[in-house]
Amino acid sequence: MTLTTARPHDMQNHPETLFSVPGMHCAGCIAKIERGLAETPGIDSARVNFTAKRVTISHEDRLTVPDLVAAIGQLGFEAQPVIDPAALVSGEESKALLKALAVAGFAAMNIMLLSVSVWSGAEGGTRDLFHWLSAMIALPTIAYSGRTFFRSAWAALRHGRTNMDVPISIGVILTGALSLFETIVHGPHAYFDGAVMLLFFLLGGRYLDSVMRDRAREGVAALLKHTAPGALILDRDGRSHWVDAKDLARGMTMLVAAGERLAADGVITKGETRFDLSLLTGESAPVALGVGETVHAGTLNLLAPVEVRVTAIGADTAIADIARMMEEAGQSKSRYVRIADRAARLYAPAVHTLAALSFAGWMIAGAGWHEALLIAVAVLIITCPCALGLAVPAAQIVAAGALMKKGVLVKDGSALERLAEVDVALFDKTGTLTLGRPEPTNIDALRGEDAGLALALARASRHPLSQSLRRALETRGATAASVDAIGELPGFGVQGLWGGHAVSLGRPANSDATAAMAVEFRGTSAPVLLTFEDRLRPDAAAVISGLQAEGIASAIISGDRAAAVAPVARHLGLTAQTAMHPEDKLAAIARQTATGHKVLMIGDGLNDGPALAAGHASLAPASASDAGQNAADAVFMGDSLLPVLTSVRVARATQRIVRQNFILAIGYNAVAVPLAIAGMVTPLIAAAAMSGSSLIVVANALRLKGAAR
């Protein structure tokens, strides 16, 4: 082992902050980040999780989030603070299931070894010995690994309902008890192997289901940006210091630089600027605000630094109102009954009646109660929904894996089921149908050296239009000219000197309605007016027509003005409702739901949050607000809108496979149940039938692997 520097114990209680560092891709990056950060004063240690592309930094209190981002930045990596996913995703459930699965696997293997000896003709004392050994392994295993099922079955029964776990629990417990009895009376057949193998297969299904939920939730958690992790607070004596969002208090004065998001609601006390409210209202054009006007948490300051007196924090902010609305809207989703449980409602009574009937039948036919009970239990084992328990999770995890490769993170299996059922799609406009960021439309107007000059000026500003211009120029391969004395003039733009010439990039001289989305470049020749627009996402038209082909009608519901929505609606040939508040969007979904439609909501903004929660299923782009991503059933990456169509198609393909799997499982029962009722099922046949049917179902599910292509 290498030398490690011993650390005093009093340093152990330092805060830990998590950062997402998407740029790391090799062993060198791990070493560079961990060593580089550990050498930074104030940082105790850094630990990289490469799989999650995250760094956990343990540091002294005096280092703030921006300090740490800067420290990582110095090493050449872009970092974003993220919320500890452990707070959102407790991997505990998966871990407990994995342990139960490991125990069941161990037990199943060993009991199977003993059972094979019994089947191959062990008799008398040897058989009894092997049965006793099996019992000693199986009974603790059933008690330990079966807890998940017993607990869930008990919870359902207590509320007078039934689910898949009820027949499972009854089957496993009865089988264990009867096999123990057989062992005690030196009987020839013990079903310990069947009971434990059943648990093993079912836990496999449960584990897959749980892993899928964790993986997607963790993916989303990694995307969650702190909307504003805090603010720079101005003290009475004129100095400023960083305060975390949770420690902000009413009456504090925040210094909000251009390009920063507000951490709390407030009133502007100094300065004048434009705010991007699109997160809150969906409106794409920035709004000019001055002293005395109210601004809301989560909105983006575009132009000039302002001072804002905090008037509402935490639960009082406009964001929190929307969050409450989302919580209420999300309750309909929690009432959704998953397909496996719907199947169980029919299945459980059917198999229990069958088992009871065969017991009664054999009693009437003159068999002893012992033999009749043995046959009834054999029926229960054979019908135990081994394949059914795997049918759904196996298909869904393969589909979710295929979607993940296409950049869609599906949060859980129920989301896939709901996604397959939708018949109406409602799109938000800003940030969903469009990219949600301005793109220059006439960049060709910058000729020759103008491009280099504009790039040099644009680089100096954090204004979204400058940033967009910089990206566009850089992709076109422009190199920045050397401009001196670059300065940003609040309320106007950037200016500088190039070889004695004054050059500038800023607000157009003759401001009209379009001024918010245009800049004027004054170089060596005549001034050039550069216009910007929020472009449609690529493939938007293809997605709309693709959804149409799947029988899903689309429409736009937007918080933006009618004039801004009209061009998009016309281009895509969609009807649109405009200027909608979050509650209007909720009402629109409620109307559709009332007429029997199942709504797919696609949106990104905070204002879409309640609608995303209320929709039968919902999708959000990765550029969406935290609230949008939290509320949506699935999050898709990248600029293209195509994942929306892909998700629906894959969800429907999954549903088809799930249905096939159900048919396969029922077909298997149709063959095996008569054998069981006839009393011809020995433990050997039960074991073969169970593993055979499970393998077929899993193999069928694997066909979904290419479904997203």
Partner: protein, 52 residues
């Protein structure tokens, strides 16, 4: 038959050993960062880098 008296406990014991080893590795976080663990063996640590 006396062979069984030895072989069965040995077989079960080895199986249990595997199970215990798996539980231990799960508890000590060896499955937390599967890709990273593979990468870390490539890091040269002759300059005694920090081990967190």
């Amino acid at each position: 038959m006396t062979g069984i008296a030895f072989l069965i406990p040995i077989a079960l014991g080895l199986g249990l050993l595997g199970l215990v080893a798996f539980f231990w590795s799960l508890k000590s976080g060896q499955f937390e960062d599967l890709d990273g663990a593979g990468m870390r063996i490539l890091i040269d640590d002759d300059d005694a880098g920090p081990k967190a």
